[in-house]
Subunit: 417 residues, 2 copies
């Protein structure tokens, strides 16, 4: 099957919201092997929305998933557009009127009259119930094209997809369709183009599985996707390819799939039954934020000192005045004392520190913007790294520093376990 | 002018990333009065990408902004697609090769040979320089249609738009076009629907300026946009409307335009010549991260203690064991001692603390997920607030807690100055 996701809503074209529905549906459709070939966004305009449907069909879509435009207001016209496109009538469903009325009654409210608009159903369409809102969805088929009309709010659209649309799509796929399996390899410490050079012949030779590289702020991912008639067969196609790639760039692979740097740190520490803390200067709390984004991180992450000002480095972390005078706050010596200081203060097994110049101000010839020191203090002593990132803005430098600090900790944990 | 934003990238169709570039560009184009009629996403496929260009033109676009597909790898083919579409050749620019080489040399690296792909320029195109990456952008015109080729990474695309593309678009608009002026009013402590009820008649009556509310995690913004033949005229249309809105909801307005909570905290502290620090538990460093996102925040933000574990609350912040035993870590008493502890430790004028249950685990009947205590310690003593957020996930609760903490500090600073 060949799908197009068509979002209807002027608020998307004005940039008021991002089209996260398209992202969500793309992920879900990929999981069940439905190919998504286009996303389109069109405004709340009858003619343009109808034209967008024609374009989707002209370019070969046989599954069109529309999101948005099912609400009660004047500019919600997805129902009308689809009805007109397939040349069918819209009929008022008393059952849905009663459902919407009960939805309001339950909340102690009276149903606004414009809400009956939401009870209009395209002739022959299957109604998709919406227990989380007033706008029901719809599914209909015409000339081999399957139309799904879903509400715009993600909190209503997502469960409707999971509970109803996916079942219909799987039924349509029947048993002859292919199953897709994907695996992400996560790399750190290698650039995207260097990585690609190392595995270029693999990328060029492969058709199934396919191999695709992705890069973001120091991290590189390689996606392997295979299709076969069963999940096990698809996985079996991925395995030898993964081995070949690991032979070439294995030293940079730190995790797979959802194993981000934060997740990996947590896994390793939990395995070891150990804890860590952080001392952050230029990252200002970013590492702590990343670590505590994960529920359960309190098992191994005890806390942090953000020593944004030198006085805090001295008074809280115990960095020596002499170190600050002689070497400055952005120095290997200071980074080590910060890490050792927070380790002692919090009583953790490990500690990581970052001190640097994130810019845009504060740089000098001797210590330019992008100069960052990272230290890891552990049961067997401290290590320190110097980095000089020559491009990137404040946010990029901070994010790279935070990720590199976590990667340094992963390397120490892996070496010393 | 009539624009279509065309993103090229299979990763978008797979749902690996959201098309935030389309959102960003839509916002910027709306500001200068360029109408965006469609967004399209197409994969890294030559024929389909070329067909998408034809579709854009068929449906009336005379500005087509392409994002993505300018990288060095095999599947980056936006340059080739556009060159083929307009029937022009691609020529190697030695100047760009040298720029890319210097980009690598400067970083102490050798340029991978596949990078020269990025130095291919469409005949007659204007090169848009990219100081933040290796892929330059391009601008060309053919038969009255203006094509912009921009890199996919937002960190490269956004500055290229702001510094180069916007200038070209404004020039194309000429002098007969309307000028748009916008102003955002920033509110805290009021919900979107309550706010909308209070100014509903204003929203309904206005056509120029337009009034649009936006909400995100506790914050509400009202955007006023006016069009006129000059900037001054447009601003003059906004002024009386802003006054009317301030009469209705002025008590909730804490800033305008780019004055976020972080910015406002900084402004007030710098005005007073005072400093602050933070003690974070459930927010795990998020407040520090938000504050230090701003360059220059070291003038007033000295540091933070992230006391994710109770041992750190006691040993570093001096929270009494009895408080933790009697009231628990998530309590008004603990919040106050955390704020007072970090204030003393860092020697700041002010301190803010947060302790709560961000979920999804860790809640109980007595202390459910979403229960958060915030304290502000200052020269005239401490204040504490209890919040119970009944909906939202871990990230939303953390973000709301961080923002509310900053808002509490703003209120104290405004009352006591």
């Amino acid at each position: 099957m060949r799908a197009e996701i068509l979002a209807v809503g002027t608020e998307l074209l004005m940039g008021q919201i991002a089209n996260t529905n398209a992202q969500y549906l793309s992920q879900r459709l990929a999981e069940i092997g439905v190919g998504v070939y286009h996303h389109t966004v069109v405004g709340d305009n009858f003619d343009r929305a109808k034209q967008a449907l024609q374009t989707a069909i002209d370019r070969g879509a046989n599954v069109v998933i529309l999101t948005g435009g099912l609400g009660p207001t004047e500019d919600d016209l997805t129902r009308e557009v689809v009805a007109s496109f397939v040349g069918r009538s819209l009929n008022l469903s008393n059952e849905i009127v009663e459902y919407i009325r009960s939805f309001y009654t339950y909340r102690g409210l009276e149903m606004p009259e414009n809400n009956t608009k939401q009870a209009m159903v395209i002739d022959g369409a299957e109604v998709l119930h919406n227990p989380r809102g007033t706008a029901p969805g719809m599914y209909l088929e015409q000339h081999g094209v399957h139309f799904f009309l879903l509400p715009g709010p993600p909190t209503e659209m997502r469960p409707m997809y999971e509970e109803q649309v996916q079942t219909i799509l799987k039924r349509l796929q029947g048993t002859n369709e292919l199953v897709f399996a994907s695996r992400f390899l996560r790399l750190f410490g290698i650039g995207e183009s260097t990585m690609e050079l190392k595995i270029r012949d693999i990328i060029q030779q492969q058709t199934n599985p396919t191999v695709a590289p992705y890069a973001s702020e120091g991290e590189v991912k390689i996606r392997l996707t295979a299709s076969a008639s069963t999940e096990a067969e698809a996985q079996a196609l991925i395995a030898p390819l993964e081995r070949s790639i690991r032979e070439r760039v294995g030293e940079f692979i730190y995790g797979i799939d959802e194993e981000s740097l934060e997740v990996k740190v947590g896994q390793l520490l939990q395995e070891l039954g150990q804890t860590f803390s952080t001392a952050e200067s230029c990252t200002g709390g970013l590492i702590g934020k990343m670590i505590t984004d994960l529920p359960g991180s309190s098992d191994y992450y005890l806390g942090s000192v953000v020593s944004y000002h030198n006085s805090v480095k001295q008074s809280v972390l115990g960095v020596e005045a002499e170190v600050l005078q002689t070497h400055g706050a952005v120095s290997a010596e200071c980074a080590v004392q910060m890490a050792e200081g927070v380790r002692k203060l919090t009583g953790t097994d490990w500690a990581v520190s970052v001190t640097g110049i994130a810019g845009p101000g504060g740089g000098s010839e001797e210590k330019p913007v992008g100069l960052v020191y990272l230290a890891v203090a552990g049961p067997n002593g401290s290590t320190v790294q110097q980095h000089q990132w020559k491009h990137g803005d404040r946010n990029q430098i901070r994010l790279r520093a935070a990720k590199t600090a976590l990667y340094s900790l992963i390397q120490r944990l892996q070496n010393e376990r």
